[in-house]
């Protein structure tokens, strides 16, 4: 290290200076418009995560959306929530209990209010991909040209209000090219302009949970299948081995 001469030191110093300048200027830009980063959905079948997703669903989605192929009993069993507790918490205790994840909208009233019937979400993760769902739930932004004041990058002119805005904060759309109109339409980024009640990573975790819940909802048997799989495969493997030894024994007498 001692043999480094002055010019080399200056060179390295200059590079650091340059990097510092770049960093500074990018921070300067970001304070105007910090691009809103949406991570990747990571599949997991963690029961606690699914249960947190279920709570979010019941609080913020179930009032508009039905999931009519799914029984409350099934969810209480799969998520290991005792039925009494489940009933108290989500179905208002006694009386005429609903069997399926439904609500009181009829298609006519829903159409009147929203202009469309909010889709049934039982199979949403199979219809769209889980990744799509994860991004969709991140991609609402404020848009004053829309009747509801919000829009969605993945579903332009969507007639669903941005119900999770209070968690996520205010997201706005920004063109990433200045000036040129044509390019501006093509390249759009989301920027966050106001903090919600959750930090970004907390919100993403909540959406991750919600997406896990929808993945579970579209194929509840997934949990059971993955429990069964190793047993079945092991069973077949053992028989396979026996069959292989049997085969080798018999084929010993056949000359090549």
């Amino acid at each position: 290290m001692k043999v480094l001469d002055d010019s080399a030191v200056r060179f390295v110093g200059n590079i650091f200076l340059l990097m510092g300048l770049m960093l500074f200027s990018s921070v300067g830009l970001a304070s105007q418009a910090k691009p809103y980063y949406i991570g990747e959905y990571e599949k997991n079948t963690d029961r606690d995560s699914i249960e947190r997703g279920f709570v979010t669903y019941m609080q913020f989605c179930a009032s508009c959306h039905k999931s009519e192929y799914v029984r409350h009993r099934r969810i209480s069993a799969d998520l290991e929530i005792p039925w009494e507790e489940y009933k108290e918490k989500w179905l208002g205790g006694a009386g005429n209990l609903p069997v399926f994840l439904s609500n009181s909208w009829t298609s006519d009233t829903a159409k009147e209010v929203f202009g469309v019937v909010p889709p049934d979400l039982s199979l949403i993760a199979a219809q769209k991909s889980p990744d799509w769902l994860y991004r969709y739930l991140h991609s609402f932004y404020a848009d004053s040209s829309q009747p509801l004041g919000s829009n969605n990058l993945l579903a332009p002119n969507v007639k669903m209000p941005n119900v999770l805005a209070f968690m996520q904060g205010v997201i706005e759309k920004q063109s990433c090219v200045n000036g040129d109109q044509k390019g501006a339409d093509q390249c759009i980024t989301l920027v966050k302009t106001e903090q919600g009640v959750m930090e970004d990573h907390e919100f993403s975790a909540a959406i991750q949970d919600l997406t896990n819940f929808f993945v579970y909802l579209s194929e509840p048997s997934r949990l059971e299948a993955e429990l069964l799989a190793p047993k079945v495969l092991l069973f077949i493997l053992v028989f396979c081995l026996i069959a292989y030894l049997l085969k080798r024994e018999f084929w010993k007498d056949i000359p090549k």
């Binding site: 199979a126 219809q127 495969l233 077949i236 085969k247």
Partner: protein
């Protein structure tokens, strides 16, 4: 006591002699390789489809208002309904994959040649019937892709000049795919085609057992017999091939179980995501594609884009698609080579067969993709190769130089 009972039976119904004739005294070449277990695989999968199909039919309702719902009922409420349904959907894809390898083997070793032409023809009919079985079965869940796939394929009949509309209506029983179509497809899927398939399986295997299996070298083992009239290069099917097949069948079932339990939709190839939406007559999906196993033939259909003699391109596409399947049936008469196995055929045969396999695979790849100019071009070139393989075969097999076939395996 047991022997006496068996004898009593055998005198009235020769079960024992039947088993002897077809298992322990049925002689099979000793050099059959891995490709030869695919026939057994196909039998095992047929059986699995039959059993799971029966259980599905117990809870399925063939009406437009309830079909989709009854599938969800099976998936969510019937005990192990999800397992039964996923075995049935995965089984269909496995069966076709197995059949393609089975056909590949027969083409590779010239098993369709004399004296096995009937084995081949019955096999070909089985393929046609399975295609019909899969097509009718796919409508039953009444999802978006079920509905629109059936709509596209049945409307192919409409383009036939003069009588097209009547034929399409006759097939569907209605002006469009409707509950009438659903009900008749259900009847055909659960009773009509399976009965015919059973009959043809019997004919396929009987005709095979009458002449015996071919082998990878295409050597006729019946020409070299020992003193007792048993072929020198043959071994009894039981126990040698029963234990060998058992091992491979278990291996295949392991793979099958892994797919059924871990990735039943096989990333959209075995169960399409659009089929998770109930059929909607008012909204056509952007990209209507058949399941992967029909993709090569669907590609041929789409490759034709020119109307001819004032008739729509679709009509000619459909004709070519049917022709592409029909040509397979003619193979025993198109191949005029003196040798069976590709191993001893000439260079041209080897080259053409290689091209044929590549073209078939590329047709398949193009068929699952959304249509674009490149895919169209590849599909057109591949179709051309596909047809030239069959149409040129009588010449190149006749005039090429073949190698000598050994007289023992």
């Amino acid at each position: 006591m047991f022997n006496a009972l068996m004898n009593w039976f055998d005198q009235r119904l020769p079960i024992l002699s039947f088993l002897r004739k077809h298992l322990s005294c049925y002689f099979v070449p000793k050099n059959l390789n891995f490709l030869y277990v695919f026939g057994i695989f196909a039998l095992v999968m047929c059986f699995s489809q039959l059993i799971t199909g029966i259980w599905l039919a117990m809870s399925y309702t063939p009406t437009t208002s309830e079909a989709f719902e009854s599938i969800q009922y099976i998936m969510r409420d019937v005990n192990f309904g999800w397992l039964i349904r996923h075995m049935h959907t995965t089984g269909a894809s496995f069966l076709f994959a197995i059949l393609y390898v089975h056909i590949f083997k027969a083409m590779l070793y010239g098993s369709y040649q004399k004296p096995r032409e009937l084995v081949w023809l019955f096999g070909w009919l089985l393929f046609a019937l399975f295609s019909a079985e899969a097509f009718t079965g796919y409508l039953l869940p009444w999802g978006q892709m079920s509905y629109w796939g059936a709509q596209v394929i049945t409307s192919l009949f409409e383009v036939i000049p003069f009588v097209g509309d009547s034929i399409a209506q006759w097939v569907r029983g209605d002006y469009t795919v409707s509950e009438i179509t659903l009900k008749r497809f259900f009847a055909l899927h659960v009773i009509g085609f399976p009965v015919l398939i059973g009959l043809l399986l019997f004919l396929h295997i009987s005709s095979l057992h009458h002449v015996g299996s071919n082998n990878p070298k295409g050597v006729d083992i019946a020409l070299k017999l020992d003193g007792k009239g048993k072929p020198l290069d043959a071994i009894p099917f039981h126990p040698y091939y029963t234990v060998k097949d058992l091992f491979y069948v278990l291996l295949m079932l392991g793979l099958f179980a892994a797919v059924v339990l871990y990735v039943p939709d096989f990333w959209g190839y075995f169960i399409e995501s659009d089929n998770a939406l109930p059929a909607n007559i008012l909204s056509t999906p952007d990209h209507i594609a058949p399941l992967w196993y029909f993709a090569p033939f669907y590609s041929i259909l789409r490759a034709v884009t020119y109307p001819l003699f004032g008739i729509e391109a679709r009509f000619w596409g459909a004709m070519l698609m049917y022709l592409s399947i029909f040509l397979l049936a003619l193979l025993p008469w198109l191949d005029r080579s003196p040798v069976k196995s590709l191993r001893y055929k000439g260079k041209v045969s080897k080259f053409m067969f290689g091209l044929f396999v590549i073209s078939f695979v590329s047709l398949g790849v193009c068929g699952v993709m959304a249509m674009n100019a490149t895919a169209l071009f590849i599909a057109q070139v591949s179709s051309l190769i596909y047809f030239s393989y069959f149409l040129l075969m009588p010449w190149f097999t006749k005039f090429e130089q073949c190698q000598n076939v050994p007289d023992r395996v």
